[in-house]
Symmetry: C2
Subunit: 410 residues, 2 copies
């Protein structure tokens, strides 16, 4: 599922003139000293790679380059290496010091644009001098984002992380597997696909197709069956499957028909992991038990779809949650990209399956909720929770199961 990303983890180039503090900036972000940092211009002779965990994205690699204004024969070699680094970057930051923007930066901007590499500018020595208005205007003219940071004082690092997350292409947030990583080669997965009136004629829905494909890619076999035929199919299968994946709608029946020693999960939970942070969603589901009448619940739908009569987000989930709360709740629904900045009024946020959003959007929403201390879960996790099968449905995701149980025990 990695689109145009050049490496398996996003690679972020750190560009700028010599001695503007590129290495210090990366080290301040990472909190460790990997490069040789000195005040002698051009210390970083070759591009140096450094990795860090950039929550909520995961690991990213910084390529800390030599200064673009390197001079002499060695400088030419360094420049060639810098250009090579540019070619494998998924995103970039251009670091400037108190001298501000000049001809070297314009050359970098042009090079980054010609490589179609998204980038932003870091004013890295904000302690020495704040960015000049002329520089801010010049960036605004081309819509180039900028942050002011003091690496030595450790100021502005949160804004820098935000800018990094914003600039990394969406596919940098993608995970390559829906479930392929759960299966051994030669394994067998049973997929339980109910065919109801809502099923598209002659088709399967996307998570089902993605699952079958991912199982093939994992050199494994899938068995596709309706819920009515599950018990009989399992009995006649000749061997125990490695995993049963069912539609959330039929999770109770599937759980009843699947032997206890066979791992079982739902397409919705697989999609919750694929499109977001399942561990955080699982922990968030514990808040369902703490809902009290009158609590506010935010239902976040990714698309403004035509609501069906028995709509999952508008009808079913509110009904289940009211039953859990033992009284009425205040539901607010947002659709599309409308996601409130202030989440503090809500006792719980329930995000939709997110088939129409990318993982980056969901992860950033989850991060915002975490920063504000608001519980956030999603449709798939909620359905398994209210049906009483969440621990079983999370059995193949031990970290998520542990997070749910820890949060529920609070």
């Amino acid at each position: 599922m990695i689109g145009t990303l050049k490496s398996l983890r996003p690679t972020i180039g750190v560009f700028g003139r010599r001695n503007v503090g590129k290495s210090s900036l990366v080290n301040a972000l990472i909190g460790q000293d990997v490069s040789i940092v000195s005040a002698i211009a051009g210390t970083t002779t070759d591009p140096v790679e450094k990795a860090m965990e950039l929550a909520p994205l995961g690991p990213v690699t910084f390529v800390d380059t030599a200064g673009v204004d390197d001079e002499g024969e060695l400088g030419t070699l360094r420049m060639a290496r810098t250009t090579a680094a540019l070619e494998r970057c998924d995103a970039a930051m251009v670091v400037v010091d108190e001298a501000g923007l000049g001809a070297d930066e314009e050359i970098l901007f042009a090079a980054l644009r010609s490589h179609e590499t998204p980038f932003f500018v870091v004013f890295g020595k904000a302690d020495l001098a704040p960015p000049r208005d002329a520089d801010r205007d010049r960036l605004a003219r081309d819509g180039i984002a900028a942050v002011a940071v003091s690496a030595v004082r450790g100021e502005g690092l949160a804004a820098l992380r935000e800018a990094l997350l914003a600039v990394i292409p969406d596919e940098g947030f993608e995970t390559p597997h829906l479930l392929g990583d759960l299966i051994r080669p030669g394994g067998l997965v049973v997929l339980v696909v109910p065919i109801d009136l809502g099923a598209p004629k002659g088709r399967l829905i996307l998570p089902q197709v993605m699952a079958i494909r991912d199982i093939l890619d994992a050199d494994a076999t899938s068995v596709v069956v309706k819920e009515r035929e599950l018990r009989d199919t399992l009995a006649r299968l000749g061997r125990k499957p490695d995993l049963v994946v069912c539609d959330s709608q039929v999770v109770l029946k599937a759980a009843a028909d699947t032997p206890d020693d066979v791992p079982l999960t739902t397409f919705s939970i697989l999609m919750a992991r694929f499109k977001g942070d399942l561990v955080a969603f699982a922990a968030g589901a514990a808040a369902i038990d703490r809902l009290r009448p009158g609590a506010r619940v935010l239902v976040a739908e990714a698309c403004s779809h035509h609501a069906l009569a028995d709509d999952i987000g508008r009808v079913k989930i509110p009904r289940w949650l009211r039953q859990y709360a033992g009284g009425d709740l205040v539901f607010e629904t947002v659709a599309g990209r409308d996601f409130p900045a202030d989440l503090s009024p809500y006792a719980l946020i329930v995000q939709c399956g997110g088939c129409m959003v990318n993982r980056k959007q969901v992860l950033l929403r989850q991060r915002r909720a975490a920063e504000q201390g608001v519980a956030m879960t999603n449709y798939g996790v909620t359905i398994s929770r209210v049906q009483g099968v969440l621990p079983r449905a999370l059995a193949c995701f031990p970290a998520a199961r542990a997070a749910f149980e820890a949060a529920a025990a609070e």
Copy 2:
């Protein structure tokens, strides 16, 4: 797969004033006398249904209605029934006699338009009087097709059949099953899906998805496996599958790995049946053996796709057919809706899989080839033929297999 069609077989309403010869016309088409036909106006009191085989479409139902100008209390009742007939028709013909078009026909045209029912006009007594210029002009103004027929002399019936085929909506030509009709409830079908570089990332191709869905709709189970895992999966399956369906690319390996007593076919052959007349395609494949160097072969592609390096229609099939002919052949390729009227220069026509065309288009092309006595087959049938596995791949389609063997023995 039946779209908006109101019945499982297309229903064609026969409308017109009393005594214009509606019943005689239908009887002339069908060649049998079902209605009471008389010269007393209004003999057909209730809509009468008559079925016929309309090649290459298959069975259609005519609803022969009472005259629209019926008078009196009984006439009102008849009119109501005529309106009810109109509501369930998929297409209609408006029959006029030597009196030509008048106010009653205009009322019918308006009613048919308001029901969005496609229709055409039949001048049914062309022996008494040819259509008037004023009437032809009036129809041309609204783009209404018309044919002149003499039911009593049996003239114009071929043109009438053409007009009928043209007016029946595309989905009237659809067949409801890709393979569901081949499987018993509780049955097991193994689908062999190779994942090569051409496979769309994270997806399956449409015939594969359609097959899985159709198997679910048939209350059966599918096992989806790559060709490499087929032998092992079959060995560990616990029971013999009812059918193995493989991608044409791997039919030799799949045939080798599947026990002889298990029916085997290809997705391409299923699609050939779904999108056309498999029996005729199978008979057409016998002409491959009779190709001689210098023969002209027409390759008909439904879409003007970007040809791949190892394109099936442009590269692979020509290569195989040259090998069969033992010398060079003259290939002509047509794309999209360009299909020659004169097919006589060709020793063979090879139609593409037709994923982008509807069954109606393919059936009409097959009919044209049959009328001109030119052999026509398709990609999927050709691939199995040149791989030497066609009889086996047609084992579950006895009529097609017999047609191939009869044509090959000629």
